[in-house]
Symmetry: C2
Subunit: 214 residues, 2 copies
DNA sequence: ATTATCTATAGATCTATAGATAATGC
DNA sequence: ATTATCTATAGATCTATAGATAATGC
């Protein structure tokens, strides 16, 4: 359990401190995601991280700043993968269908590999306008990145208002993915059907709306 | 403030007690929706309802049962409006497009007139499997009601698998409505655009996916 | 000398109950 | 006699801090 923070041989004091810091964030990440930030005490976090309550306060000051640090770490990591996936060269030669499939795959993956984040992120965003703006910016970067990839290929799109349609379709895809990954929001076929069916129908709905075949 | 519970002239003891009971539920409804059930103390609820902490416990036993009673009341009210809206005679002579528009209007209205419920409902469902099943049943009743209205009109639908398509499209519409009504889940065009645009594009996406014009 | 860590605890809530009170219902 | 209500409070957490300790860094 607490083994993560015991000093390892040949480890500097700075290194161990950084490891403790990360262990606390990891512990908060899991516990906040499982039970919500409010239902999680600093004592719970400390126990899981294998350190004391005092140590948590030493590193983060208070609970609010611990949540902020968690969000910041998430944003930092996510930023990098977004920058990679929206890079135009990556999609050279690909049409609208392939790009939409890439958007869905990326969004699904992001939600699955970071299930820990959705809950504390939304909770924090609700009450903290700074965090809300940061997350909105992150989402916009992903969406605008894909939107401009699609805009360049607007000749494939038969919808009378391509700009509106592109934004709407990306948001619609994000919405069904969020619904699928948060069963308590809306029990539905979106959740019960197998992954291939889900992706296929979501993409077919997008293609039909955009009128790709005209 | 507390005036709601003061005895009114010519009011029986039973009546006043029922009014107190309802006032506590109303208070919990608002506070739980605004701040979350966990962040709301029984003392907050009592103050808002204009009664004492002891009175809340007299009526509901404990906090968990207060949440349950709130969910039950919501379910009871909602059940009635669902039964009305999915009644086949109401849609006699209407095509798929009109019915889908009705589904969207009803879902939008439900979310707007009961904003108070979404949060405590989801919070409770997350931890309480009985409530989760109840809410799933409620949603299923709405969805299955509309699904059978659409199924009867399947000749209008060009999608190769009408049953799958009907369920998928209803869930997709629900997902974009939820996204629109919960800005902290996903900042997006879905939220920023005016109501008419939102409804129009959502319905156009549905119609295109179902292939209503073939 | 600094600082990462721990232990112990003060102070603030919050849930739930006990017991008193006063008004209705049978 | 019952019960809806109130006041007061016990007991359980939970946040945050104070102060001690021991190991590193300059």
């Amino acid at each position: 359990m607490g083994a993560a923070v015991l000093s390892a041989p040949g480890e500097s004091r700075r290194e161990r401190s950084a490891r403790t810091y990360a262990a606390v964030l990891d512990a908060a990440d899991r516990l906040f995601a499982e039970n919500g930030a409010e239902a999680t005490s600093i004592s719970d976090v400390a126990t899981r991280a294998g350190c004391s309550v005092g140590t948590v306060y030493h590193h983060f000051g208070d609970k609010k700043r611990l949540l902020h640090a968690l969000v910041e770490r998430y944003i930092g990591r996510f930023q990098i993968t977004i920058d990679e996936v929206v890079a135009p060269p990556r999609w050279a030669g690909s049409g609208v269908r392939v790009i939409l499939a890439g958007y869905v795959a990326f969004s699904l993956e992001a939600g699955q590999s970071r299930p820990a984040f959705a809950r504390p992120g939304a909770e924090t965003a609700r009450s903290d306008s700074k965090v809300r703006l940061q997350l909105a910016g992150l989402h916009s970067e992903l969406k605008d990145g894909f939107a401009s990839l699609l805009l360049v290929r607007r000749k494939e799109i038969g919808h009378p208002n391509p700009i509106l349609a592109i934004h709407f379709v990306l948001d619609q895809l994000a919405a069904v993915i969020i619904a699928r990954q948060n069963p308590f929001l809306m029990p539905s076929t979106l959740i019960e059907c197998p992954s291939e069916t889900f992706v296929q129908e979501a993409l077919e709905a997008a293609a039909a709306y955009l009128r790709l075949d005209e």
